[in-house]
Symmetry: D2
Subunit: 436 residues, 4 copies
């Protein structure tokens, strides 16, 4: 019988860290999660604490029609094959094939409140540092997927989710506790299908958690406010190829159109109504040096302090791309791949988490709320709960991290894992008791 | 015993057409060429005409240190494996491994002049049309390599080269006749190593040939002038990644730098001294929508009516990229991958070809010279010959082509193949006799 | 004897409205101010309330070495001549010649606190609307200076300053009360010399006031916070001219460099630390269509939520311009013409004004603080007072305005003038009494 | 009685040099021309050689409805007033008011052929050098109009035109000889109205002359070929102003649109059909640093080796500007201000001039034709003559010039003036005799 997740927090996290997978392609990650969940279940059954009631993988865990930012079949297949080669469970592979990754795990006991916890599971297209300044490289748990990295702490989040679930199981918790291991957060693709799925129904309280975000180990933010609304966009500019030497005038240059669009995208005016963001994060265009480029593919995103501000930037971006394409005689496809709204943490829940954090070992700095400054598709789940009359809070558990999120030297301080579990477990307990 | 190449012009060309390979990766193409050359040799031996004296494949056919635009090992290997799977000859694979494609075939007889013929063999990164308007698709010889196409007529060139060689063999030619099946023309990578190789030494006359170039079937241009000097450039812009939502200011955005560079590259001033060209043909940059791009790879080329004009544009392009990188706090690598000079056809040779063409069946329009308007690394061979006191001409054999070179619907009129062979064989004969 | 300013609020404001003058060129405006101040003085003497102790015009009213954004001599002279032709007072013309506009008026009585009030006096380069939707046009007090307009309410500010001064004079105020009629606010040129001048010394309290800013008549904001730090920049790009047809390559195109700089200026990344702004507001470049432009003059500004954020954008802007100039072989001058820091209203003073406003007739909505969202060089005076241990607040008196500040249809609701005077006079009284 | 123009070539040219005036504003220049023409007439009458038959100034000298690139009234008036202040003749001022500058002078004798000579008279917006390397500055005949300069040799052209007329008058010429002193060449505004005017009718031969163009003193080019077709464009982008700090999103930024248009204008593809040119020569946009620019005025030109190529670039430019305006929510006006076609020198006339030049003192290098490489609205007159069955040639008389045309250090070698007069006078004589 393995030790509890709580006793192996660092190890569990490091295992996840070694196998980052991009959104909707977390086949092996899902398999690892199910392994751990089944082990928890077994220990719980062994201990007579009743076990996990439901471990749900695949389309049943979500509203499969609401998936966003799903990659193409080739891409899915590549990662699927890789997971199989690495030894992913056959049952998980079958359930997730086609990109239905993620897990929902539920404990049902008595008549207490229905409480949810949401953590995310996907990695990022960042090549992890391999130098001696980077602990995962030194300690031997650097990413084994070149070009991919858990550079946002989702490895920690999964670990926290598992340990919290196990601790709740071990406790005398009375109620329903559901942990959402959500896929495809980075592309804001997994939040909506989870929020629209069957397990989000009837939740009275929702907690979501993130580590770090520039807050050090020992600090807890009880609830974030002002997450940015966000939209991911795929744009394709189609022109006409021509021989660059003999007849450049016969081409409609998709690369010129793209460059014009990019330059002006970053020039979309700031807005009096609040913070906005725009980024063109990926460009692939043209074929060879002597051919006027026929096609340019662009991946972009816009964000806003409110959903309306996000819509403003998106509208400007669309016009910018349309005009740039028209300028060079090109056609444009402009697709919104995924989107997430804004949702704020509820005061009552923030108060409860704030009190809990203040009394937790290892916490030396507690603040009620902080601006998030980025986007999160946990907002779909938060809004679902709030719309049904429930309360939600998205808390930050500080962790010392040597470099920014989404960069090659990002790392988490594993001491923060225990703090997070303590705060969450105690918050769940109090929610059951106090029902704020 | 197979029929002569001349009797199978269309079939031979169609076989080459089905298997386009990019520069320095023409492993299967080289294998096909050697097959045909050996068959010619066999027929010649059978007929008692002496056979081909040398069929040279691999580093010995060129100056291997002068290869330009050689792709990386992975890329070479991919095409190498593909060629092997398709059934390429083991001896050719061994000789060309690492990217030493192409063939030189030589006939040596008596004391007559040393005459060369140069044809090129590589395909283009153009996805061939598959609709009913495209004869190769209708007739079943469309490219079997997705994304690659013989969209510039090199399939025809190889066929012409083989048939001319066989016809010279069959004739009472007295002298040395060398056919250069040159790889990597499109990237201007193969011309220099062939020109600097052992078989270019001592050539008294050089003929090079191209089909089409907007001239219809039945027309022959005896010699091109003003081919553009050209340089291929690979540029890499390296910045710093950052989270696009949380800290865009911490990034050094390689995509912004790239867009600035591209916009200004196309704005490099026209030159009073003559025609110039610039093109950014390929861009790949960044990773994901929410990450400030850390890197952008750009493939570009510059051309000029003279070598000096090409150098002017190249210098401006370099400064443009350097400044764009500096503007966004990025570093720049700017590498010249390959280059070709300008060389013009010699009058004496033009006159001879002009006279020959005027008397050739199927030719109804003969012009002495025409501007080339593009670049060609045949100029390396032409210059080598001219520098050693010889004469060179680059002739165009018209062919009806439904769409421009380098586009998906490009095709050649196979009737032009015979015309080309007739003009070349008779030109070789007269060169031997007249020694202009 | 004329009626008090308070009895003529609308008329006085309309007179100022008709003669907008740009920064450091408010010669006629200063003359009108002195006329009104002398009339106030005369009425006060007549009423036995002691008169104004000092009316100071010219270099003595400020630190003349700290003037920023001073226009060139020709420009100064043009407006100087216009003011003289319009009938400006000879003494004012003599004192202000060379661009030393503005007035300081001081009342000294007893030992009470030293209190300052700052209003600004310059107009904007906006062409005032002349249609029937614009009350100044309908009522006949539209700007008589074509292309200039009081489109920011400074006409109202001067009127409020005069009326407040007269009301304080009429009251039993005990202390020193100084009104700063500051020139050149729009270019942030006049705040620093006034703050560094002799009359800013020893102020214990400072009030500054602005009308409107999207707040309606009846609303008062007791103190603004977060005014943006700002910097005005003049940049000149110098290239080399050439004949655009014959030898474009011989030019170093200042217009291309300018366009590159502008495009990238607007693309300077948003900052995680808070709000930033950048604008290129004016460009003049080149001479004729057939000449490659030799020179481009650009007027720009940057702002930041903090002084550090402003410095960030300024640094990025400088690098952007330097790189754009270098890209096109041009030289760059990049001059900071003027700058204003950030300063926030002090809580104690905000509380006092808030209480006063809540009790003022016509005020139906009082808020403590609001973000300013723009820049103001009143911050120099505020910082001076705060640095010397005093308190400052910058209050907003709402006014219905049909269109945004700085646009052709901007107008103020004259009912707000009385509200402003009431709030200020009562605030001054309480400051004297309560000394917070 | 003054000496003949021929005896004062340098002085006359220097006088013109001191007073450069822009197109359609050559009021003082026209006055100087009339003074000289009347003096020639007087000397001729005195010498009994018959005098000038017609000296025509104003609308009668042209088709006034065909004037292009006419500046606005204010601009015309400014230069008109300046000319009057400088002492321009009252009769000339009356005839040219409103911008009808230029002169036609005609000699009618006997039944000989009708021969025309065309010279141009306007200056350029170039600020003349004032340093010791610039002879006009050293010798005291630098431009007295700041910012304007005879930087293209039109001062020399006028002088040559006058001297040639006087020499023809003095000779036994039999026929009609007409000299067109054409205004507004630089903007291609004066060629069409002169060509469509009454004095262009029935010309059998036309000579036009230009000095320099990179040919040294002593060289003559008998006729230019391939002048570029050209079009001048005025574009106005209209957006919406807003406060750059408070509400940048409310603006439609004409400066961003302009920068986008400029960047892409220079990126219009080169054309396989031949040489093209594009230039944005002047930009004026926006008002102040804190206002989003409401308007941008742009002056541009396009050229092409043929009229069709020019139309290609013009079409691309229009689309570029339209798209850039649309991208930023702006409106566009795009006006073709003036245009000139291509016209080539006729062989028969080139031969005659070539022969004459070869026999002229001081000429040591004669070439038949040269590419022009720039544009010229003399082509209107040339085409008119050619369309009516006559012959035209545009000759170049070399002159050493220290720097390029259209630059501050441009100057002419006055020794070339006499050469030009000799070639022209003798060509006129031969035309009369030989009637080619």
């Amino acid at each position: 019988m393995t030790r509890t997740v709580r006793d192996r927090l660092g190890d569990v996290r490091r295992t996840f860290h070694r196998y980052p997978e991009p959104g909707w392609r977390e086949f092996y990650t899902t398999s690892l999660l199910v392994d751990e969940l089944e082990a928890i279940d077994a220990r719980s059954e062994e201990a007579g604490t009743g076990g996990i009631d439901e471990i749900v993988v695949g389309p049943e865990a979500m509203d499969p029609d609401e998936r966003m930012a799903v990659p193409n079949d080739d891409d899915l297949e590549t990662w699927f094959d890789r997971a199989r080669e690495r030894g992913a469970r056959q049952d998980v592979l079958e359930a997730t094939e086609g990109g239905y990754t993620g897990v929902v795990a539920r404990v049902r006991r008595g008549d207490g409140p229905s409480i949810g916890l949401r953590v995310d599971i996907d990695g990022l297209f960042v090549e992890e540092a391999s130098d001696d300044d980077h602990e995962p490289a030194v300690e031997g748990f650097r990413s084994e997927h070149e070009g991919l990295m858990h550079a946002c702490g989702h490895d920690a989040h999964m670990t926290i989710g598992l340990a919290t679930l196990e601790a709740v199981l071990e406790s005398d918790f009375d109620g329903t506790f559901t942990v959402f291991f959500q896929p495809a957060e980075e592309e804001a693709g997994g939040g909506k299908p989870m929020a629209d799925g069957p397990y989000a129904e009837g939740l009275e309280y929702l907690l979501a958690v993130h580590v770090g975000l520039d807050h050090p180990t020992g600090k807890v933010v009880a609830g974030i406010v002002k997450p940015l609304a966000m939209s991911h966009i795929d744009a394709t500019i189609r022109g006409r190829s021509a021989h660059a030497g003999k007849a450049p005038n016969e081409g409609h240059n998709a690369i010129q159109a793209m460059a014009t669009a990019v330059q002006n995208a970053y020039g979309i005016p700031r807005h009096s109504g609040g913070m906005t963001r725009v980024n063109v994060g990926r460009v692939e265009a043209g074929t060879a040096s002597n051919i006027i480029a026929e096609r340019a593919d662009v991946v972009a995103e816009v964000r806003g302090e409110t959903t309306a501000l996000m819509e403003y930037v998106k509208g400007e971006l669309r016009r910018t791309f349309e005009s740039a394409a028209a300028m060079h005689g090109c056609d444009l496809e402009f697709d919104v791949v995924s989107e997430s709204p804004r949702a704020d943490s509820d005061d009552e829940l923030v108060d409860l988490v704030y009190d809990v954090a203040g009394e937790t070992d290892g916490v030396d700095d507690t603040v009620r709320t902080a601006d998030f400054g980025a986007s999160e598709d946990a907002t779909f789940l938060m809004r679902r709960v709030q719309d049904e009359g429930g309360l939600a809070s998205y808390l930050i558990v500080g962790t010392d991290h040597p470099d920014s999120h989404h960069t090659p030297h990002f790392d988490v301080d594993e001491r923060s894992l225990e703090i997070a579990v303590d705060v969450l477990v105690e918050s769940v307990r109090r929610l059951e008791v106090e029902r704020p």
